[in-house]
């Protein structure tokens, strides 16, 4: 039998959280900074208080809009040859952070700031991995001007991987740039919309607040039907109630508020239900992402998402450790294990440590193997006539020849690869053999694998015409100043047009 899914909420408890969520959204409301987003809600029957910026969503509207959310969608790489489906029953694995530092044992403290070269390497490593299907702009290139960072990263995406990509929904202008550049790469806007390439990350601010930059970005992602994760990151005890049930009620309201808005922007726009919410460490005030409670919250989110029939997203393989030590090991496994056992449909954060602030390519390849280990756990035990192996037992045990065992049995050859997970990075050698191979620990073995991947990487061919168009686009983005973005987002005076569209954004 396969491993039973773990659940922390009974049917009644899920219903209690749902009812409390409806109470919050319809009676307390949610704060929406953007006047245009509030108007969108108003047009569909929400009660809007433009003075206090709160909107209340009637239960009927919530129910109606949750019913238009797709149960599944596909994500594609630049040329479409690689794609995968996200649905409510399977599990996919991906990265995210956003790491601003990277493991570098040659540096003081073992870390240094990430640069574009690290972003490129991470994209290439993810491209080669068996289980990690998507990366996002999650290794932050500190040496690139942040105002045009997204454009430079999209350029690197198309040159370095066949897998999909993504970014935070950080405003209209940056999001529109991504859609424009992706349309150049894939051939047309229609192709991008029909076969999405990007995962968006839309982050409500807890408690109960949809910020303007995020709703602006969500509008673009929804328009282009790029699957968007509505992802609050609430912390029990500081930005959410300290009780996990209270936290779940609040983030459920934040997620559903964001999802309803996405459907108002574009009915049928694909979304993920989910979060990287956790507890507050009450000694330091930090997010305790590696905690056991993270797993409990993530598992509950998976249950709630199934209740609404929407693909879920949660973290796995995360740790609060600042070094690659035992804490790093057990926290990443415990969070990954619980998320997978709970049936989360899109598990992110592979390759990170120190609360996802630091990247380690070594951890990325290790996490790929951890996924295999966890998948083996889920497979459980297969019991049937063949696997009970009665005849084989009889033959081997009663064989008159001395020293007979199961090694050369046909049965062993037939079932070995299905029954036993054969690891690549894990070491099980005798000490003498391990010594002869260099006495390496798993980090060193992982580094060897990373170097091998990077050395054998073949850059992808990009059409010359596309290359030129992308570089011209980047030049335009590079010329922008902060005020251009502020104007586009409606948080400064003046107007600006969104490139590649006929939309002019006026000052609010």
């Amino acid at each position: 039998m396969k491993l039973k899914r773990i659940e922390f909420l009974s049917k009644d408890e899920v219903q209690a959280i749902h009812s409390s969520t409806i109470e919050i959204l319809s009676r307390v409301g949610i704060k929406v900074d953007s006047p245009s987003a509030r108007n969108t809600f108003k047009d569909y029957g929400a009660e809007v208080n433009d003075h206090e910026l709160f909107i209340k969503i009637p239960e009927s509207l919530i129910k109606e809009k949750l019913s238009t959310v797709p149960e599944s969608f596909k994500l594609h790489g630049p040329d479409g040859t690689f794609n995968f489906e996200v649905n409510t029953t399977s599990t996919q694995f991906a990265t995210i952070g956003t790491p601003v530092k990277i493991y570098d044992p040659s540096k003081k403290g073992g870390v240094r700031k990430t640069v574009l070269d690290d972003t490129i390497k991470q994209i290439r490593v993810v491209d080669s991995l068996k289980n990690i299907n998507c990366s996002h702009i999650d290794v932050w290139p500190n040496d690139v001007n942040y105002l045009s960072l997204h454009a430079h990263c999209i350029y690197q995406w198309v040159h370095n991987t066949r897998k999909p990509y993504g970014l935070g929904c950080f405003g209209r202008l940056a999001s529109q740039d991504m859609m424009n550049m992706a349309s150049i790469i894939v051939g047309s806007e229609k192709e991008l919309i029909d076969n999405p390439r990007f995962v968006g990350f839309m982050n409500p601010t807890s408690p109960l607040h949809l910020p303007q930059l995020m709703t602006n970005g969500l509008e673009i992602f929804a328009k282009y039907k790029q699957p968007t994760i509505i992802a609050p990151e609430a912390l029990a005890g500081t930005t959410a109630p300290v009780t996990l049930a209270g936290l779940l009620t609040q983030i459920n309201a934040e997620i559903i508020g964001g999802i309803v808005l996405s459907q108002l922007f574009n009915s049928g726009a694909p979304v993920f239900f989910g979060t990287v919410s956790t507890i507050t460490d009450m000694k330091s005030g930090n997010a305790a992402l590696g905690s056991i409670e993270t797993g409990i919250i993530t598992a509950a989110i998976a249950q709630l998402a199934r209740f609404y029939n929407i693909p879920s997203r949660g973290p796995g393989g995360i740790t609060d450790s600042k070094v690659l030590d035992v804490q790093c090991g057990f926290e990443r496994l415990q969070t990954l294990l619980v998320a997978t056992q709970a049936g989360v449909n899109y598990i992110t954060c592979a390759g990170t440590y120190e609360e996802t602030l630091v990247e380690a390519l070594e951890l990325l390849v290790i996490d790929d193997e951890l996924v295999d280990i966890v998948k083996r756990l889920i497979e459980g035990i297969n019991v049937n006539k063949e696997t009970l192996a009665l005849d084989v037992i009889k033959n081997v045990a009663t064989n008159p020849k001395k020293g007979v065992n199961y090694l050369s049995e046909v049965h062993t050859r037939k079932f070995m690869r299905k029954e036993l997970y054969i690891p690549k990075l894990i070491d099980r050698n005798r000490r003498s053999t391990w010594r002869k191979k260099g006495s390496k620990d798993i980090i060193n073995r992982a580094r060897d694998k990373v170097e091998q991947i990077l050395q054998s990487f073949k850059p992808l061919n990009v059409d010359m015409e596309i290359e030129k168009e992308l570089l011209d686009y980047i030049k335009k983005v590079d010329k922008r100043i902060l005020d251009d973005y502020k104007k586009a987002e409606g948080i400064s005076t003046g107007t600006v047009s969104l490139p590649g569209t006929d939309i002019t954004v006026k000052d609010n």
């Binding site: 942040y146 005890g237 500081t238 930005t239 507050t280 005030g285 602030l357």
Partner: protein, 216 residues
């Protein structure tokens, strides 16, 4: 029970109403002057701060107590001190806030509570504070230190803007500027010409005391 013991009990229990009542009654009965009462409360907050440092109590205990004390000082003791003409003893005045473009508040508020519990007067401007507002407030209250919090990589640049604003107004040498927040670092503080950086609330107190020449 002495006044100090009673104050300690009420602060630990977060009993704001009774603490205010105790202060009113004590002042009316002239059992202590406002400044003396403030000193007593200050000692109680120091005790709580030390308990937090020693991990005997945790964040909610510290912050809850600090809030109760702050409200009592704001509503009862500060007005009484002003009316009596006494001078208010404080180790220093610090303006703190989260910079423009950043809504994070908890770390900065914790630093504020801890500095407050160590005898400093805190002016917390909240979040998304433009550079000019930091400088305006520091000038208004005659602060010694401006503390800038940034939790987003993209908002760090606004910490630099505050320093530029001080320079533009010819006020750079008048204030010490300190930084904090996850993406920031000592190197970043040096790069933008700040006077210091602290990793957490406890370090912030050490840094502030060092910058102001106060005994630790």
């Amino acid at each position: 029970m002495s006044i100090e013991e009673k104050v300690k009990e009420l602060v630990i229990e977060w009993n704001e109403e009774e603490l205010k009542e105790l202060c009113r009654n004590t002042l009316e009965a002239k059992e202590a002057t406002p400044a003396e009462l403030l000193k007593i409360i200050g000692k109680v907050m120091q005790f709580i701060g030390k308990q937090f440092e020693d991990e005997e109590i945790f964040l909610p205990d510290l912050v809850g107590s600090a809030n109760v004390v702050k409200n009592t000082i704001d509503e009862i003791l500060d007005p009484a001190i002003k009316a009596s003409g006494e001078s208010k003893e404080t180790l220093g005045k610090i303006v703190i806030g989260t910079v423009e473009g950043d809504v994070h508040s908890i770390g900065k508020d914790l630093v504020g509570s801890f500095l407050f519990s160590n005898g400093f007067e805190i002016f917390n401007l909240g979040e998304e504070v433009p550079a000019s507002k930091f400088v305006d407030k520091a000038e208004e209250v005659d602060a010694q230190i401006i503390g800038l919090s940034s939790l987003l990589t993209m908002s760090m640049g606004f910490q630099r803007e505050v320093i530029e604003e001080l320079k533009n107004r010819g006020l750079r040498n008048k204030y010490k500027v300190i930084l904090g927040g996850s993406p920031t670092s000592n190197e970043w503080a040096e790069e933008i010409g700040a006077d210091g950086w602290a990793d957490d609330a406890i370090e912030a107190v050490t840094l502030v005391k060092k910058l102001l020449g106060v005994d630790h």
